[in-house]
């Protein structure tokens, strides 16, 4: 059988040098303007974090294109930047004029492997959405089904790569001149690169869509769905999925917040109950965070279509997140404690979520968390509290402030959870006033039922059960055996640092080389009839040579031993 090559995972291309410099120039200009505006305010004594944040957002808008996306991504780093900055960056609207239609047709034809009319009965020329990464077109298949075709911008990968490189260059420079701690931006660089690689590959999005629909179905949430993708026509640049007919959640939100009777009537005619939508959104937030193996990471109102019967349909799965199981279990505990008003317990569980802790005043941190939780509880219980006091937003925000003050590392998954929970809760609480602890209790009840059902399903094959048990026992015995072996072998674990060993070898080699060089110099001097003295230029030169050689050898051998731990 002939071997089938497995394609390598898609990676964004390296940008052309000229493109990078052009793009970099725009960045430098925007940043220079930003610095000038901040400096001007500071000179006048009117500087404030809020206006600086606005200037920063405008700088991103000035650069334009994928910078908008970059800014939006930075807005989730509530652990690094103050809240005001993040809030302002989140306001960047990702709206860019569409690219020439012909380029889109080229991409789609490449994806379907033939002319457009082999698959589509008609294809609209004007996109229904045009953002910095892709444009979305409406089309109809030959069997009459309506589809949405998402096509990546032709130059988007390169533009992103340029922006990314510009960002990396700038942050590395900042680290090199030790304006910030070396390694400060390293996790962010890594995260951004990973995020872009994921977001630019539309096949990943198609997969998320399929999985999300499946998990929702398995959980019995018949009111939660997402458009199905036509996987046979999906490439990294083209995504063909069902077109959903519904009302954008932004429309519902606008109707609710403006209290516009006409708009509300239209919403009601579409068989949509905003209160129910709010409750379901809140439910989805809990389900995604505590139970599902995957959650929609960007529940912006424009990414949510409400279908008749107040059914929710998420679109745009560019950013999805996962909750690790132990963290989900801990969060479940927090939620349970809060429903029972056991505030100290909730705070303590949240505290254990932060482990392993670096050396900080853990008691002070715990107390701080607890006082935040009490305040949050007051907001939850107050019947007249404003929407933002009833969401977890205030709690997350103050927790992030605490982590910043205590310099705790926060991982990216956690940030995604924070951001998406913020968005879900905010949206739910703005849409409806009915979100209370009762909703949480209802969710917990459903969750227990689901878990019992899952356990039941797992238990059904009776004959397999005994086998599983025996296998666990056998494994336990093997573990015990291994434990005994380890106990016997402990003396063999002589602590040795490999770096130390190689450094010693390098040093020995370097000294040998230095000795040889010295002997050669001495020989040469003897031959020319001069006696070597310490002040002799040749000896000084030789000394410098040896120092260089030795130093370089050591440097290559050692690098920077004991550098900051990677996070």
């Amino acid at each position: 059988m002939a071997p089938v090559p497995i394609p390598a995972p898609w990676r964004p291309p390296e940008p052309a040098e000229a493109a990078f410099w052009l793009r970099g120039g725009r960045w430098v200009r925007a940043m220079a303007r930003l610095a000038r505006r901040i400096g001007r305010d500071r000179a006048r004594g009117v500087e404030s974090l809020a206006t600086n944040a606005v200037y920063l957002r405008e700088a991103f808008e000035e650069v334009g294109g994928t910078a908008l996306k970059l800014g939006q991504q930075l807005s989730i780093r509530v652990d690094l930047f103050p809240w005001e900055v993040c809030d302002e960056l989140a306001r960047l609207t990702d709206r860019v004029p569409p690219f020439p239609f012909e380029r889109a047709v080229e991409a789609v034809e490449a994806a379907i492997g033939g002319p457009l009319d082999t698959v589509f009965a008609d294809f609209e020329r004007v996109p229904i959405g045009s953002a910095s990464i892709a444009c979305v077109y409406r089309a109809r298949l030959h069997d009459g089904r309506r589809v949405a075709v998402k096509v990546c911008r032709p130059d988007v990968a390169e533009q992103f790569a340029c922006d990314l490189r510009a960002f990396e260059t700038a942050t590395r420079l900042a680290e090199a001149i030790t304006a910030v701690r070396p390694g400060f931006f390293a996790p962010m660089r890594e995260a951004l690169r990973a995020m872009f690689t994921e977001e630019l590959d539309l096949r990943t999005e198609a997969r998320y869509q399929a999985l999300y629909a499946r998990y929702a179905r398995e959980a019995g949430l018949d009111w939660l769905t997402c458009p199905g993708a036509f996987r046979q026509w999906c490439t990294e640049r083209v995504l063909v999925s069902e077109f959903v007919h519904g009302v954008s959640c932004a429309t519902v939100l606008a109707a609710v917040e403006k209290r516009d009777p006409d708009a509300l009537a239209a919403v009601a005619r579409a068989d949509i109950d905003p209160e129910l939508v709010a409750k379901r959104l809140y439910y989805v937030s809990l389900w995604g965070r505590l139970e599902a193996p995957l959650f929609h990471g960007d529940p912006h109102p424009a990414n949510l279509i409400v279908l008749p019967g107040s059914r929710l349909c998420f679109i745009d799965f560019g950013a999805c997140g996962v909750t690790s199981r132990p963290r989900a279990a801990l969060q479940m505990q927090v939620v349970r404690h809060l429903t029972q008003q056991e505030v100290s317990g909730a705070a303590r569980t949240a505290f254990s979520q932060l482990s392993p802790l670096p050396p900080v005043d853990a008691e002070a941190l715990r107390r701080e968390l607890e006082s935040q939780f009490w305040k949050f509880m007051h907001g939850l219980e107050d019947p007249e509290a404003a929407w933002f006091d009833r969401t977890s937003a205030a709690l997350w925000m103050s927790m992030m402030e605490a982590t910043r003050r205590f310099e705790l590392p926060v991982n990216l998954d956690m940030l995604k959870i924070v951001r998406s929970t913020l968005l879900y809760d905010t949206l739910a609480n703005r849409l409806g006033t009915a979100i209370t602890q009762e909703e949480t209790v209802a969710y917990l009840r459903d969750q227990a039922a689901r878990e019992a059902r899952r356990a039941e399903r797992r238990r059904r094959p009776r004959e397999g059960e005994a086998g599983g048990m025996l296998r666990t026992l056998a494994e336990a015995r093997a573990t015990l055996d291994r434990a005994a072996r380890h106990l016997r072998a402990i003396p063999a674990y002589v602590p040795r640092l490999r770096a130390g060993v190689s450094a010693r070898a390098t040093a020995a080699r370097a000294v040998l080389v230095a000795g040889l060089v010295a002997v050669a110099i001495a020989g040469a001097m003897r031959a020319t009839g001069r006696t070597p003295a310490m002040g002799d230029p040749a000896v000084i030169l030789a000394g410098i040579c040896v120092a260089c050689a030795l130093g370089q050898r050591l440097r290559f051998g050692l690098g920077e031993v004991g550098g900051p731990a990677r996070r």
Partner: protein, 603 residues
């Protein structure tokens, strides 16, 4: 695009629905960060404080020389100095007076009596502030509004009004600019405290967190939305627990804002007035005529205090007789919610246990609980510490049991003093939430026992606990009823979960065995890092010098001059450019090392 494309037919565009995503912007949350004080004004205040304190120090020295020095006299002089600094200083100092962990009792008690009266606000300012908060002209909201304030303090001016629907109301207004002035004052005092620590007048770190904590609590006090919330919460929970004899005035949150609070007016006597009347020979009769029986009010006060601390979501940390209204019929209504606090569930359990053990006449067991309030203890002689507390606690217990003891001996003051004197001597840190807890309790007990000196607090506590048990049982029953239908599924889910956990335990054991049994410690790593950075610096400098020397020699050779290697070395090594580069590199290396040293390594 060579071939014809019948597919590409223009189609009518569907009009976007009204209120499209275009005009969606995430709504802003209302946050009130503490204002940043203006440096110039802070400096001016600091100078004034320094002058005041120098005069105070001179006066205290004089007292000492004349042999008249005593803590009470010192406290009086301090209070006089602070009063000269103005009302804002009084407000801040009053807040400092709460810190019984830092100050000795005479000072703390005198500071807590400081008053922060300010001249009343101009009428038009009040009207503007109220109209801004209600977002409507004054006449739309109120049927009448009395421009003469009932009271005027730094953070609240109180006015009477009648709402449009005829409800009598109290309107509190925060004078504008006060938050900034308080922030300035605290910044100035912070500089002074830092100075005291720097000059080692007190132990460095003695005032740690004091500045931030005071600022935070005063900023919370200045946010009237929090008062409204506290008011509504207390009301809700008193109803939930069917207390009957306690309520809170309704706060109209929709009419107020962070600077204005509109709440129901409660008619009745303040507790201070009740106490004053009760002390007069004909007073009790008049009180009884109003349906106020002093003994009953005192008992209710104790019941309320314990309930508020142990069962409600928040409690008054600084209750005063003027802020508690007793209505006709003897209902207790706290009317002022600026100083509220919370305490952990652990502290609540400890408090319950403390009273129980005292009631069992077991001061030894009670001491164990009492010491738990300040756990974790630092490295001190725990045994001696506990013994010290216990000795005092026995005396407190005897006083509680002595029917002829004076009323103040039967408050819990002795209990807390036993602990705090020991902690102050041993340098054990006391946490703020505990201070709030016992201050509140003490204040309520003082009020109750002054009103009715023959009350037995322990017997009252037994009564309270019986009722609290009944309430807890009711809540539990309600929970059970709610969960009864899902009990089976919940149990099944828990069982399944446990089974999964068990099988994972085996796996965990396996992973544990695979761990290498030693870890690199942070300090050697950091030392190694510092050494390598220094080494790299030396290497770089040597390489630069070498390159420079070679360059000079090459230039010499090219231009036909005699190549002088030693001259070139000296030239390069003493060249200002080389020096500048060396300095820059050295500073960078140093900063790298410093950053690395400040790293929080995971082990």
């Amino acid at each position: 695009m060579a071939h014809a494309r019948p597919t590409l037919a223009p189609r009518p565009q569907q009009a976007p629905p009204a209120g499209d995503a275009d005009d969606y912007r995430p709504a802003r949350m209302q946050r009130m960060p503490a204002p940043r004080p203006a440096p110039g004004r802070v400096l001016a205040r600091t100078l004034r404080w320094i002058l005041g304190l120098v005069a105070l120090a001179a006066a205290l020295l004089g007292d000492r020389l004349l042999g008249r020095a005593s803590p009470e006299r010192g406290a009086t002089r301090l209070v006089a100095t602070i009063e000269r600094m103005g009302p804002v200083a009084c407000k801040v100092a009053r807040q400092f007076g709460h810190r019984l962990d830092l100050l000795s009792a005479p000072y703390a008690m005198r500071l807590a009596t400081l008053e922060d009266f300010v001249p009343p606000l101009p009428q038009e300012v009040v009207v503007r502030l109220v109209e801004e908060a209600t977002r409507a002209p004054l006449a739309d909201t109120f049927r009448s509004f009395d421009p003469a304030p009932l009271g005027s303090r730094t953070l609240r001016c109180t006015y009477q009004a009648v709402l449009a629907d005829g409800t009598p109301a109290i309107v509190r207004v925060r004078p504008p600019g006060m938050r900034e002035r308080i922030a300035e004052e605290i910044a100035a005092i912070g500089i002074l405290l830092a100075l005291l620590e720097a000059l080692t007048v007190v132990r460095p770190g003695f005032f740690r967190n004091l500045r931030e904590e005071t600022l935070a609590s005063l900023m919370e006090e200045s946010d009237f939305r929090l008062h409204a919330r506290a008011q509504n919460l207390l009301r809700k929970h008193a109803e939930r627990d069917r207390l009957g004899f306690v309520s809170a005035p309704r706060a109209f949150a929709r009419l107020g804002g962070d600077a204005v609070l509109v709440s129901e007016r409660v008619d009745g006597l303040s507790l201070g007035e009740v106490a004053a009347l009760a002390a007069r020979p004909d007073g009790v009769g008049r009180l009884l005529a109003m349906g106020i029986e002093p003994r009953r009010v005192a008992r209710r006060l104790l019941q309320f205090a314990w309930w508020e601390i142990a069962e409600a979501l928040l409690f008054h940390s600084d209750p005063s007789p003027a802020d508690l209204v007793v209505t006709r019929g003897g209902e207790l209504v706290p009317v002022h919610f600026s100083d509220t606090s919370t305490t952990s569930n652990d502290n609540r359990r400890r408090l319950r246990e403390l009273f129980r053990r005292l009631d069992e006449d077991d001061a030894t067991a009670a001491t164990d609980v009492l010491v738990q309030f300040v756990a974790p203890l630092p490295f001190i002689d725990t045994h001696a510490f506990t013994k010290r507390v216990e000795a005092r606690l026995w005396h407190q217990l005897y006083a509680l049991r002595d029917a002829d003891a004076a009323w103040w001996e039967r408050t819990s003051a002795g209990t807390w003093a036993a602990l705090l004197d020991a902690t102050r001597e041993a340098g054990v840190p006391v946490h703020l939430d505990f201070i709030h807890l016992f201050r509140a309790l003490l204040a309520y007990e003082t009020m109750a026992l002054r009103l009715c000196p023959t009350l037995d607090p322990l017997a009252e506590y037994r009564r309270y606990e019986r009722r609290a048990d009944a309430r807890a049982a009711r809540r539990f029953r309600k929970d059970l009823e709610r969960d009864a239908e899902d009990m089976a599924t919940t149990v099944a889910a828990r069982l399944a979960h446990t089974a999964t956990l068990l099988s994972r335990l085996v796996f965990f054991g396996e992973t544990l065995l695979q761990r290498i049994p030693f870890t690199n410690l942070a300090m050697p790593r950091k030392a190694a890092y510092a050494a390598t950075v220094v080494l790299n610096l030396a290497t770089t400098l040597a390489s630069l010098a070498l390159a420079g020397t070679v360059g000079v020699v090459v230039v010499d050779l090219v231009t036909g001059r005699r190549a002088d290697v030693s001259g070139a070395v000296v030239l390069v090594a003493t060249h200002p450019v080389f020096g500048a580069v060396a300095v820059v590199l050295a500073i960078t290396a140093l900063r790298r090392v410093l950053f690395r040293l400040a790293d929080n390594d995971p082990d």
